[in-house]
Symmetry: C4
């Protein structure tokens, strides 16, 4: 199930893999643009990329992981210090304190050591305690080096905050029709040199196999994504969509896969974004409404990005464009 760029239809049929006709409930991409495949077979360790998992985990999950690791390591070192003996820690061995009090005190000593805080009201006495503390502070610094890397990697990761129109439309276009959707940039920084690729995956009723077809775009690259970009596939005689209506697409379980590639101007980094529309996201005989940017007092154009979702249904008779 590799998706080919500019592949001939003929070639695909002969590749002999990935053309299985899955149940209709299976999407190729899920709603967030993630490829809907779970890879196994090498064991959990080899199928996981830990740095990647930390980078892309939710913020709350990351905080829990960090906090949990912090408590765990401190408990482990508290145990170690406890084994060494509370009497080897100055300022801790208060006469009359219970065993559990001692352990808690060693836990706090561990926390003060791993963060290199080192108040010093508790301090190691003797070789074993000093060696353990020296190792813990080294471990602390390396752990926080790792945490620094993960946090930096997380926040500096190139992201394409692309907003896609909720629906994909079949609109009047030139003398025939066009498949259209709109994208915009959600954030204040700029996306430049944006490129789009549109692929359709559909069951072929003749062969009962799944095909991946490239849909040619009228314009596949823009220099600026200042407001919005309507991406158009002309449904002419060369188009695999020619003559099909929504019901056909539903029946053949069509899925439209979109790849957007751009340069995040702030970091000069390439960013990628994906989405897929299923056939039931398709609206026939509809037309996107124009955006209505307003000029602010400061001479800026203010635009509400959610306007890209808006469309008008049109009657079949009015296939020619009217100014709005």
């Amino acid at each position: 199930m590799a998706v080919f760029k500019n592949k001939l239809k003929e070639q695909e049929r002969e590749l002999g893999f990935g053309s299985k006709n899955y149940a209709k409930s299976v999407r190729f991409l899920d709603k967030n643009g993630k490829v809907n495949v779970q890879r196994t077979g090498l064991g959990w360790y080899n199928n996981t990329d830990f740095y990647h998992s930390l980078i892309s985990a939710s913020l709350s999950k990351l905080i829990l992981i960090i906090l949990g690791t912090y408590v765990l390591i401190n408990v482990l070192f508290a145990c170690l210090y406890y084994i060494i003996g509370a009497q080897h820690f100055g300022g801790l061995d208060i006469p009359g304190s219970s065993k559990s009090q001692e352990f808690i005190g060693l836990f706090f000593f561990s926390a003060q050591t791993i963060t290199t805080l080192g108040y010093g009201h508790i301090y190691p006495i003797g070789n074993a305690a000093s060696i353990a503390a020296a190792l813990e502070s080294l471990l602390g610094l390396l752990s926080f080096a790792l945490a620094t890397g993960v946090l930096y990697g997380r926040f500096s990761r190139p992201k394409a905050h692309v907003l896609y129109s909720k629906n994909i439309l079949i609109s009047p276009y030139r003398e025939s029709k066009g498949l259209m959707f709109r994208i915009t940039n959600k954030k204040q920084y700029e996306l430049i040199e944006s490129e789009a690729v549109l692929t359709m995956t559909i069951n072929n009723p003749e062969t009962n196999k799944r095909e991946f077809l490239n849909l040619k775009l009228e314009i596949s690259r823009v220099n600026f994504l200042a407001m919005s970009w309507t991406i158009v596939h002309h449904i002419n005689e060369d188009s695999p969509l020619f003559g099909l209506i929504k019901n056909d697409l539903l029946e053949r379980d069509a899925e439209f896969i979109i790849l957007i590639k751009a340069i995040n101007d702030t970091y000069s980094q390439n960013v990628n974004s994906r989405i897929s529309y299923k056939a039931n996201d398709l609206i026939e005989n509809a037309k996107f409404k124009h955006l209505s940017p307003e000029a602010t007092k400061e001479g800026k154009l203010k635009v509400s990005v959610t306007e890209i979702h808006h469309y008008d249904l049109i009657e079949n008779a009015t296939l020619n464009q009217k100014p709005t």
Copy 2:
């Protein structure tokens, strides 16, 4: 209002968006090359990229943010410690000290904890105080990890220090004329493989709509940007500028949008730079002066980059180039 690369004029008219004729005061790009659009509609949180804001904020603003956050967090923890009780902090509970004195003391203890300074002349006693301090030192390390990332991201961000000539000229070129501007590199490192794209946005008096037109460049790529690069659009019969004079461009509110892409040689990073000239930045019948680099004793060529702004007005009769 997406700007298309190499788009046919015909196609644009049929896209049906972004061709609204805005008030003349609206620039597409502001003087610093920022796209003049403010995006709203998803709420402040979703329309903002915080890391990006910190990376691109002014230095003084960033210092204020860091200092403000530092004071705020210390005040919050001082409150927490105060609630726990000043008697749980050794070295602080000086007999006869006022409530406000205690609070200030806890504020300083907080500062010594969050930075992992930990002098130890004030130290936590008991579980509540120790837990709060352990958490604060963890928070401190993570915050400074974030600050490290922001500072690194800020300083290592690829930047193209391109200097543009103040004006864009219409000069004699070949047997006719050329639209010309000059760029140079302000800094000591090198920019290599520089590329330029020149787009004009102009009102079409016939349709009363705004058009975006690509202006073909004589040379659109240079290997080195050692001294300066004069970027030339030949105004021949194929040019949309053919036959237009400055007054026409003023009337039709022309704006020249320039995109420069290069590789910063030190970091091998792609960098981007943008600028726009309005019609009133245009000088007709003028010619850029040659730069006058001097050979230094060390065998280097010394050049003053501001010389790229200099031009000579020429009389109509002297359209042929003379050696200077």
Copy 3:
């Protein structure tokens, strides 16, 4: 021994280098895709890139290096402090302690200083001790800055976790045969825009020289590497493999060199992967088995990546594809 992209055979013969016929035991790439060349001649220092070595060392080796350096620096500073004199360190100069006890105490003081732990139960007295401690803490911070960089560089390094089929097959393909191998992505993140280049290096029995030949691929680029990708070179009359059987390839010591280039979608980074197959990795008259992904309850496709190794031997008679 540079390998050329799309080079003509004729040109190679005339380049006059790198065509020496090495012993058969020499592989161009080793099993892990590393180029099998050891570069010398500039001295150990100039032929080594230390950052690179640290980044690509095994985890256990890196831990040893860090631990060893930590102990070494502390021993060196303990020596320095010992020379300055134990009497210049408060809290250490316990009456009756032996020389070696003093040294060990100074070692622990050094560890508490370089990590900026600073409990303070041992502290410097006088100028020499204070200066040494001030320098050690500076050195400590810079060292841990370096360690942070190495750890970050190590974990954020773009990696392509490509799994290659164990064998390269000669399978029925169209009306003739094809050279085929399969790749897949081991990890959960996505690889996009994958590209493959296949080169064969083989002894030319006529000239007794080694040649590098590009083998044309049916499809050399895929948008997604969702499940697996079977990379196919059609052995038709234009192929240098036309008419050769495994024994010929063994005799001429053929090696198939594969370069995979892709974009790691999480980081938007380019990643590279390499492998080589020797002639004895080749299986004639075999065909890859289809993968058998299962749809999970959550609507995901679950696939075991090790299935890409599986193939069926086929009898010569059954050269036409049968559905499996």
Copy 4:
């Protein structure tokens, strides 16, 4: 003095800049591949990129800068603490200590504060001292964040360790001659997808102006740079070098500018390298010697990279290649 890619000769003459005929002592690139231009005119601050300077400074210079800054900041804070008064620092105000002793003590306290070491045998008393210390520790953390960034940026900076042959040769090539030089990779990691561009800058005796001419390469890209790559410009009738001998090139002050672009395989980063040969680096009637790699016991090829400098002078009669 911008150098154009694939520019027509005709175009260059008409660009009207950068064609000044400089003194012969002026090189376009210096021996290390740095562009030989010093940019001024915007003031020292605006013509300098500080991060870039720190990244590319020599190691000894960087250590001096860091050490100097460390001492300077500590002196400044010692002054501040001295103004606040030594009596506000516990553990310092030893009866009978001199003013200078106090200052030195405050200097050490500052060092313990800025590194967040905080032994605590000296500690701030009162608000002014505590505020100053809290600010210093914040400043310390931010400074070391900066230092971490600079060190990481420095060591992770993509570098192309390309070694160039000392000379550029005119060798027999095909039925005529070729301009040739060799490159190799000095380090153990791999360079892949290497590309070369060769430009000649030469005085045109007719116009007395300097021209930049692209010299076409036989092969301009290799997939691997495993051993060495001999880069060849065929001096045929289309070459601007056709019919010229070394004396002509010396007279016209020819300089050969080479740009190498590759991907450092460890980091998947693009790297760039440059060099220039002057006419007196040219050897006529010479031929590079073959490298002599040896197969090691481990099956590796061991090659001494400095062998790329070696060439044999050949007599005019023996223009045809002989096996060596």
